[in-house]
């Protein structure tokens, strides 16, 4: 029982990391009906920036928000420079462009920072705390707290502010929003900025666990896809719930299903994607796709 609870808590921590990246995917999907395959690589690059800042003597808790701001600006820049010129292109073109972007960012990180895995600091101690007989690491609790705060801030921004309102409006109905004076094109850029910042959180949170190197996010993005698809690719809440479910599932599968631990965990993530698509194609929180014939 005790072991189960420990696995659950660390699963929730992992899930929070997936949820952040899944949320980044959902933000862009909602804005332009596009899955951004470069999301993980953008998060990895932001994590390298955080690493460089910390290496230069900046404290972790200053480097963290500074990185988020830089990631935000970087996301806007990518949208303006790379995506905007091809905004009206067919979706397949856009998908290929995000794949190209992923390769580009990956190569750029390798060129600038090298491929040697580096240990990334965690601000939370690796020690455990005894909570009613369950030993939980401060690191897991810290990751859960940071993901929770980030998701809450994003929720409040989208649901409770005017900018959030116009952002949602622009995503749902660009034409009607323009007629209300919403600057739709900038809202798209803002969406990319936010997605990039939220994705960066997942990179910074996962780096102490995985070691930082250019390919660090390539498995994480698969789990994030699984989370987003499971939750319903259009639903921010679904991304969070999906992230937690995927995190807990792979943690439990790794411990209890023989041979899964380690090597086959990714297969569990892929299995979740396939099962979700087969059994509930709109996801747990997605709306049914209605198509006019």
């Amino acid at each position: 029982m005790q072991e189960l609870f420990q696995l659950l808590v660390s699963g929730i921590a992992t899930g929070g990391i997936f949820a952040s990246l899944a949320l980044a995917l959902v933000l862009i999907y909602n804005a332009m009906g596009l899955v951004n395959f470069a999301q993980g690589e953008m998060a990895m690059f932001a994590t390298f920036i955080a690493y460089a800042l910390i290496q230069r003597g900046m404290s972790y808790w200053i480097a963290f928000p500074v990185t988020l701001v830089l990631a935000f600006a970087g996301g806007i820049l990518v949208q303006r420079v790379v995506i905007r010129p091809v905004e009206r292109a067919p979706i397949l073109t856009l998908v290929i462009i995000t794949l190209g972007l992923a390769t580009l960012v990956n190569g750029l990180a390798g060129f600038l920072f090298g491929y040697v895995p580096r240990s990334f600091p965690s601000p939370f101690s690796a020690q455990t705390v005894d909570l009613l007989g369950v030993f939980i690491s401060y690191r897991d609790l810290g990751v859960i707290a940071v993901s929770g705060v980030v998701l809450l801030v994003l929720y409040l921004l989208l649901q409770r502010t005017t900018v959030g309102l116009t952002l949602r409006a622009a995503a749902f109905h660009p034409e009607a929003s323009r007629l209300l004076g919403v600057q739709v094109s900038w809202m798209l850029a803002l969406g990319w900025g936010l997605a990039s910042a939220v994705g960066a959180v997942s990179g910074i949170m996962v780096a102490p666990i995985l070691l930082l190197e250019p390919n660090m996010m390539q498995t994480i993005i698969i789990y994030a896809f699984a989370a987003a698809v499971l939750g319903g690719i259009e639903s921010p809440l679904g991304a969070v719930v999906g992230g937690l479910i995927v995190g807990v599932t792979i943690n439990l599968a790794g411990a209890y299903i023989p041979h899964v631990g380690g090597d086959l965990q990714l297969a569990v993530g892929l299995a979740i994607i396939i099962l979700a698509l087969l059994l509930k194609p709109n996801g747990l929180f997605g709306r049914a796709a209605v198509r006019r014939v």
């Binding site: 309102l165 116009t166 034409e175 600057q183």
Partner: protein, 237 residues
Amino acid sequence: MSSLLELEGVRAGYGPTSVLHGVSLSVPDGGVVSLLGANGAGKTTTLRAITGGVRWTGEIRLGGRSLRGKPTEDIVRAGVAHVPEGRGILTELTVDENLRLGSHLRRDGADVKKDYDRVFEYFPVLKERRRLSASTLSGGEQQMLALARAFLMKPRLMLLDEPSLGLAPMVVRSIFEIIRAINQTSKVAVLLVEQNARIALELSSDAYVLEVGRVAVHGDSTELKNNESVRRSYLGY
């Protein structure tokens, strides 16, 4: 009265299909003008040209300034509230959020509050349903929401695309009463596109009848209403 909106020889279309073949019309400051005509005559396209939703040539001026090359957002910000065909309600959002999208650019907080009070006086049902999703509203209520939202934009000019479409006669009556009230108390000019010529002519002072992309008839609303041959050949009642 000076002209708030002027169109001169406006041609427009979609891709290779041209829909407007040189439309000229003007809307006086604070006035109500009807734009009538059969389906496909180019009424909706005219409105879309004004707010930059379709490419056009010729000249369109708002308050004496050309709208050439301006993006929709800037035209809207210059004081044009366009209630499009289909009403442009954001059904994923609540009634309140739709209204807030109307007032989100305004910086005159105290007046905004007064205008919300006015809106809920005009349309009490919107106050009751404020927290509900806009998708739960009936067609008439959605039209009310669209009109309320346009009013909250505090425009100089409202472009209304068939506010009567698909609504019961009684609902149409009350909506037109409120359009009249908004025009008279807030001095908002209105360019009204309608298929229902009878009710449009009651409201407007001036009217244009479009026929396949050209102005076929222009005149005083009362005159058009009383001119039997115009009524028969163009207005269909």
